[in-house]
Amino acid sequence: MPTSSLRYRTFREKAMKGLFFLSAAFSLLALGAIIAYLFASGIPFIAKVGFFSFFFSTTWAPLATIPQYGVFAMVLTTLYVTALSVAIGASIGLLAAICLFRFVPSRFVTPLRWLIDLLAGIPSVIYGLFGLIVIVPFIRDYVSTNGMGYGILAASLVLSIMILPTMVSVSYDALKAVSPLYYEGALALGASREEATFKIVLPAAKSGIFAGLVLSSGRALGETMAVIMVIGGSPQLPVSLTESVRTLTANIAMGASELTSDALSALVATGVVLFVFALILNLSFSFLRGKESGHV
């Protein structure tokens, strides 16, 4: 009896080990499959169109009589939208984190953080709806000079709200990780509370805050649904903040269920470009995080 029980236990152990291994292998396999698919069908298409005309032509017209596949305008729009939304969202987020960290009475911090985190749980389509119904008409009627509410400004405002929770919680944790001795030491040397926070604690939390910036950029770069609803969607060069333009993500989502053959491959190729951007952001995030943990 004891031997069979032992045998059962070793068997169970092995089975579970196998299960864990399979699960780990599955996630790697999924990653590998997506990358393989993207590159296997995207790269040959880019090569066919020509690397230069794919990246630097500004005309995207996959269904025109003479199809043209230039993503430059959309790459530029994506970069503008990401930069502007991170500039707005991250500044507000960082100041909010500092406020929570230093100037809000501690019994309010937990409920406030909970509320801010709640923003992260709102589905992106709801942000899009809010943008479409509130932000776009407001910009069209009161801000825009050309009567267009859609565009980079609307998308950046919506995205800046979406990246707030990421920015606040990452920066708050980074500030929290700075030894309180820094702050107290600064006060002891005669610095005011503001000086101690902004000139001593903030620089010490720098790499954590940068990590927050990179994470926020990733969110802004990859967001699709909310952006589609407020960006307008015309694949043209962005020259104004209130003008119908199109990001890379919007380009893929708008055409994915309708386009076929070459036009569909063009979307996959757009996906490759987006993937490379996301990869760069992720690598810089891991780099920053590595630096941070080595530092403290």
Binding site: T59, G233, Q236
Partner: protein
């Protein structure tokens, strides 16, 4: 004290801004906010083809609305929007414009006087459908007088005259798959419901995806019937044949606050044409109204 006054003034100012949001009237000197559908949409390709811009890329600064509901929402909410949509989808939240002096009505589409109309069809592989009693019966139903009543009662145009009533076949059971054009989808759902009511053991699954999906699904046998909302293009599905279910007009729509009542096909072409030179381009509403 001073702080309190400042706060009060700020609140008043904010309320003022909010109140101003409600009251604005149509200003014809504003530019036309040209709205279109996404690439691959059957309504878009039909509209562009019908106004003479087949295969051209979009005019600059166009707003791309993904789906017919998004078009309705955009036009209902934007005073300066100009858009087009299937007549069957146009609600009372927007205003239809006459095209070349002809109103977009069922009668005008059937008679062919309204310029912007197109066929809505199902496509299928002839052999498997005629050999399956189930699929063949659905095709018969689509041509029956029961189907024609639903078609004309819902704003579409029936082309089958002198149709006979559908007689149910009690021995049939199973599932019929229909997918494709979102322009035909709402009508197909109504037709399918009527068919299911007479054929108790049959389920008809109607899904969307667009005309492109309709072609690929019918060609690859994913669904027995594909729905398309443009003239049948045999090169996209060489193994399939098509059968017209109904005709659909594409209405040109504006916001109800817009005083404009009529537009010409030439003006539409000018507005949606990306090759039109800057000097002759129609940009504002007043240009359309003075014409």
């Amino acid at each position: 004290m001073r702080k309190k006054i400042a706060k009060f003034a700020l609140t008043l100012g904010f309320i003022g801004i909010l109140a101003a949001c409600g009251a604005k009237s149509f200003d014809s000197s504003k530019s036309i906010s040209v709205t279109t559908r996404e690439d691959g949409s059957g309504t878009k390709s039909a509209f562009m083809e019908l106004i003479g811009l087949k295969g051209q890329s979009d005019v600059s600064n166009v707003v791309v609305a993904t789906g017919t509901a998004a078009v309705m929402q955009e036009v209902a909410g934007n005073y300066y929007a100009l858009a087009y949509d299937s007549l069957g989808y146009v609600t009372s939240d927007v205003k239809k414009l006459e095209v070349d002096g002809v109103e977009a009505t069922t009668a005008n589409i059937k008679s062919g006087t309204y310029a912007i109309s197109r066929p809505l069809s199902v496509i299928y592989k002839a052999a498997p459908v005629s050999s399956s009693a189930l699929d063949a019966s659905y095709l018969t139903f689509l041509k029956s007088s029961d189907a024609q009543t639903i078609i004309s009662n819902n704003g579409y145009v029936s082309l089958t005259d002198a149709a006979t009533a559908y007689t149910a076949n009690g021995s049939l059971s199973g599932t019929i798959e229909v997918s494709g054009s979102t322009s035909l989808q709402p009508l197909m759902i109504l037709l399918a419901a009527q068919y299911e009511a007479s054929q108790a053991h049959v389920t008809v699954e109607v899904s969307g995806g667009g005309t492109g999906t309709g072609y690929t699904n019918a060609e690859n046998g994913v669904s027995a019937f594909g729905m398309i909302s443009a003239e049948f293009d045999a090169t996209k599905a060489p193994d399939c044949v098509s059968s017209i279910v109904a005709k659909d007009g594409i209405a040109v729509i504006v916001n109800p606050s817009n005083p404009l009542t009529s537009v010409s096909k030439t003006e539409l072409k000018n507005i949606y044409d990306n090759t039109e030179s800057d000097a002759t381009k129609i940009k504002t509403w007043s240009q359309l109204m003075s014409a």
